[in-house]
Point group: C2
Chain length 188, copies 2
């Protein structure tokens, strides 16, 4: 971690380590890379790595905090709810596509507790926002009454995330995705 | 691999290695376990491990072939299509729940090509079967015409798999899941 008053030099090294780690994780996979290689790629000594990061997982979490911005949509009450849902889905797709480490994070989350917790928390947050939007829409008759909205919000988030993870997004039109979700939600 | 005419002793060792590997992978995670530990757990010499399996990934693939039976539903033309879809979903849920290594396989697929290929092939097979069922149903007016059935089949499979992977199944009623999927598919 950086201390409270870092020198320029410290900020540069900290940034270089995050950039190097991200590059190497994406190119070779998290498992195959160690602190020594990351330090070398960042042109710093291995000891320097450990001055800033406790371990490889801490570095991954730091990259995540820096590069993965959840742009949660501002729910505008004057906007038709379906438009808000569409905007939420599109935002989520864009955010995920920008965050190149999604595969790495998902893989590491299967055995690293800190990463798993952060992933679960991020997913829970997205899902709660969407669930709230769906509830508002249901209250105004824009969404069918006979589905479980908690499950619907989970299912929509899951589909959007897996589209990106499984490279399925390449074969999918966003309009097809929106049609499918609209079919699931629209009242008869 | 077992040769064509294995002795009883060979079959026993082969089975013991698969059982031991499955136990250890589930308990400690695939990454933390090596061939030596699996051999010890199976009460055989480490060299014996390599007489039957090229490496750890080969063992995992062998366990998979032995224990994960895809029970693809027989599509009965006299059965209402929605019932066939429900049966397919239920079968998929049961199959996944039975196969305790799903988390391990998903994690390993992110960096092992043979495992990734097998997982992709299994998923593609499930999806094709479901897509065929949906097409038949659409032709007989039981499914709406305005959705992409390839995407719908993918989305349904993904939701069912992730329900199991994310432990979401614990909080989910199968009827809620069926309602959601029915909402997505039913004609207006």
């Amino acid at each position: 971690m950086l201390n409270d008053n870092p020198t320029n030099q410290q900020v540069l090294k900290h940034t270089a380590l995050m950039d190097a780690g991200k590059r190497l994780f994406i190119e070779h996979g998290y498992q195959k890379i160690n602190a020594k290689q990351i330090a070398a790629e960042a042109n710093v000594a291995t000891g320097t790595f450990y001055r800033y990061f406790e371990d490889k997982a801490s570095l991954l979490l730091a990259i995540w905090d820096r590069d993965f911005q959840h742009h949660l949509p501002h729910v505008n009450p004057s906007m038709p709810v379906w438009q808000t849902i569409q905007a939420t889905i599109q935002q989520e797709l864009d955010d995920l596509a920008e965050f190149g480490l999604l595969n790495v994070v998902t893989s590491v989350s299967l055995y690293n507790e800190a990463v798993a917790e952060k992933l679960a928390a991020e997913n829970a947050e997205s899902r709660l926002v969407l669930e709230r939007i769906l509830k508002t829409a249901q209250a105004t008759g824009q969404i069918r009454n006979d589905i479980n909205l908690r499950l619907a919000a989970w299912a929509i988030m899951t589909i959007v995330h897996e589209l990106v993870l499984q490279d399925e997004a390449q074969h999918t039109q966003v309009t097809d995705l929106e049609n499918l979700i609209s079919a699931m939600l629209s009242p008869r």
